[in-house]
Amino acid sequence: METLNQLALGFSVAFTPVNLMWCLVGTTLGTAIGVLPGLGPALTIALLLPITYQVAPEASFILFAGIYYGAMYGGSTTSILLNTPGESATIVTALEGNRMARSGRGGAALATSAIGSFVAGTLGTLGVAFLAPVVVKFALAFGPAEYFSLMVLAFITVSAVLGSSSVRGLTSLFIGFVIGMIGVDLQTGQPRFTFGMSELLDGVDVIIVAVGLFAVGETLYMASRRYAGKDEIVPLKGSLYMTAAEWGRSWKAWLRGAAIGFPIGAMPAGGAEIPTFLSYAIEKKLSKHKDEFGTVGAIEGVAGPEAANNASAAGVLVPMLTLGLPTSATAAIMLSAFQSYGINPGPLLLTTQANLVWGLIASLFIANVILVILNLPLIGLWVRLLKIPAPQLYAGILVFATVGTYGISQSPIDLVILYLLGAAGFLMRRFDFPTAPVIIGMILGPLAETQFRRAMTISNGDWSVFYTHKLSLTLLTLAFIGLLGPHIWAYIEHQRRRGPEHVPGDA
């Protein structure tokens, strides 16, 4: 009841015309920057920080939260239509979403991602309002040992994404590890694979890798096949929005995606990318339409990850609002905005700034509604992009990818990396190596490494931390079951089926 009263208070703050206006501005701006690969919500909010000198705290946080949620919606649009992920959290969306767009179901892919984002965003925001204290307790139980075990589980789960040939899949995964290692090693401060270039000391941005491999690589491949007359893009087949069957396949994926995204988003080292990988792997495993994955595009593979990234965006707010813990770049910048108002975000924030916090939560509900209203009608317009003739469309994608990459840090080196990776992507496509595992390796590899070394530093070199901590042991056991379970199961099935033949004397 307490929470409901607080939420009512929040809505009374958020429903003032001025704050509604800020919410609308934020969501619109967020959608726009989500579409651009270079501009992320963290950078945008950082550039808008001076606004805190001019407007009330409630208004600026409502604006920032709108940008944050909006970017999650917008990022999927270019992933689906142009195979050019706008945000790192929407890289997975490109895998199935772009296949769907090519086979004439781009409208459905955009619709399932918008509605899925709405469903998961609303569920996640409900989670922030009602479950925050419980979730944060769970999240803090995760230390380096537990994170490492979680990464092991993630590696095993996402092996489903490796593709048909595990040798090729693993090759790609290891390329990802190497790219992920570039830069200063966090544990020792030593540079790795930087070739003496200071621009490489901070590592390579995952967006550049995704855009290079997916968008540039794909464009080069298409250009080389131009006269083979293959791979026609079908702009639209069937209805613009989702069919009944597509609704039926989407809703469970939305719920599963939200259930994965919210708790992982709330973990201090969780992030928004890992839940999208996990959701994709799970949808692929559970789907009755496995043949559509990687061919014409399976709608579950879009619905799940899109729900997961929005739920994780809500999850990030849990430690931020309850403990003052920033767990993503965007949250860190929002916290510095608190400071320019002289508000110190921390465990006391909920009691000292109830108006602000609940106003923010209420405005997240409103932002979700605005975003779905804003995005659904745009689908008809976006899908028309695919009617552009292939040469112009692909040239446009190249321009878009180049400008976006330059926008990340205005560094010409980034452009060189983009095109090198584009060439690598082309070769990988030509020789049938999957590109998605590169991204997975690049994100999961360094995380697993860092957490492993942290755990070993803390335990002073004692390996037992991984199995004496209950949570870590549970995760490792799950990973073990995931790895061996299917094989053992298949073996038992095999034995049982073969069984009767071996019964001696059986006539």
Binding site: L24, V25, T28, L29, A42, L43, I45, A46, L47, L48, L49, P50, I51, Y53, Q54, L140, A141, F142, G143, P144, V184, D185, L186, Q187, T188, G189, Q190, P191, S198, E199, L201, D202, P268, P319, L323, L325, P326, T327, A331, A332, I333, S336, Q339, S340, Y341, G342, N344, P345, G346, P347, L348, L374, P377, L378, L381, S409, Q410, T457, I458, N460
Partner: protein, 325 residues
Amino acid sequence: MLNRRRFLMSTAAAGAAGFAALHLSPAFAQDAPQVQIFVPAAPGGGWDQTARTMDQVLRSEKLISGSQITNVGGAGGTVGLPQFINQWKGKGNSMMVAGMVMVGAIIANKSANNLTEVTPIARLTGEFEALVVPAASPFQTAADFIAALKADPTKVPVAGGSAGGSDHILFGLIAKTAGVSATNLSYVPFAGGGEALSALLGNQVAAGISGFGEFSEQVKAGALRLLAISADKPQEGIDAPTLKEAGIDVELFNWRGVFAPPGVSDADKAALVTLVETMAKSDAWATECKNRNWTPILLTGDDYAKFVTEDTARIGAVLRDLGLA
């Protein structure tokens, strides 16, 4: 089509609002100078906030007519520094925000350029660091912590920011003063204060070292215990001794200041020193510092240049002890 038009118009309006907030200068200050501020870090961090707060205060005090802020981020400022030295040479109305982190990064990254090539104008602010432990920790005082560190440094994992950063440097200085070999220290670096904080709250590590502001709210709420601060003297409203009072002769401010490019005239240099000094003595600046937990530690001109040289030598020695340089 209406949708697209409305969409574009609202985006443009929002963009214009942002632009106005950033760049429009008040019309009544036309005779005051324009300044350019170079930030060798991405928007949002400490240097960027210093630049944007300077811009805000300088304009509200009518000391300048406007300013333009340029961000070139990466590698603790060592990506931006060569650009500032080469491309901004001789520009008398420009300043770069930098600080202790850059001194460390220049040494650790073996950067080709260093701060002796730019013109020191003023040290503005500092953030002192805090040594904290989880509420459940057996350490009640800094002396308990030091005793445990002396007994077996490998059993006292300490969380903080990135390897070679200010937190790591302070840990190295504390160990050195206590007579503990820096190579045996168990330092657990985290990418940001938030992650280090969660390791402390989850009782994953024995202690934490980071900027006081990172921990202050948790200390207030009783989740962390503050053992000591690295300031030069006791601070009002903070119920903890300085490291010196606790018997560890170490003082450290994660300082931030401004530099002019190489090759500026003495007149330009003097004008910038006066400008920054006037700003730093204003009430508006004092208020901003208070809100952001920055301690004003103004030092200008030649004194500042001397300080930068000394601090570079001190940090270099610690980083060598820690095996990072």
